[in-house]
Symmetry: C2
Subunit: 124 residues, 2 copies
């Protein structure tokens, strides 16, 4: 799980405190999954679907890519915890895992009062 936080409601960081290496590695995995246009489109197609689920058979023909390639991208999104899949009969359905996108949104949200920049003279 993504960087777990205490009980104080919101966001351990990125914008508030230096990230520890382990947390950075973990977080980077998720962002990396979002760092590809095909996966972003897949995710948005899945997330915006009315019923909350999409059949792979509806996703594949929307791209100019081979079926194995789409399958591979879906796997990366799944491994990043962004989506989940379920097989029903012949077909496999994917759905959004909102906890993960929620968490990312929180991580990227800065706290209310950010102190204003006031230049320093000389460092170290």
């Amino acid at each position: 799980m993504l960087g777990q936080e205490g009980a104080d409601g919101c966001c351990p960081g990125l914008l508030t405190a230096p990230l520890a290496e382990d947390q950075a590695v973990e977080l980077a995995r998720v962002f990396k999954a979002l760092g590809d246009p095909v996966r972003l489109r897949l995710l948005s197609m899945i997330a915006s679907r009315a019923g909350g689920e999409v059949c792979v058979c509806d996703l594949t023909p929307a791209f100019d890519l081979s079926q194995p390639t789409i399958s591979h991208h879906l796997k990366l999104l799944r491994e990043a915890g962004l989506i989940a899949s379920e097989r029903r009969g012949t077909w496999v359905y994917y759905r959004l895992l909102p906890e993960t996108t929620d968490r990312l949104a929180g991580i990227l949200t800065r706290p209310a009062g950010q102190p204003l920049p006031e230049p320093v003279e000389a460092p170290s």
Copy 2:
């Protein structure tokens, strides 16, 4: 600029509507910049700094990487619109560009009432 939106306040998408290819390419560039542990740590060190600015000379020694490598990562973050740099005398200072992280946070935030999943039988 990241996917521009009308005047209705919030978030064209990712989670609400299928992303167009151009928007996806643009967005992916930013997420890709976040998809590396070193860059995430750099960004968090810059963003969480009290004065709003950090000297490169304070960032470099925090990593087990060569100075050119850190410089390269900073360049990628800058090209993604996440940070900006300014030279003052011998030193170069980096600061967060909050508009970009704000926008990402918005893009990852889903609208209040997400319709509940209701399974379908057979697709196409």
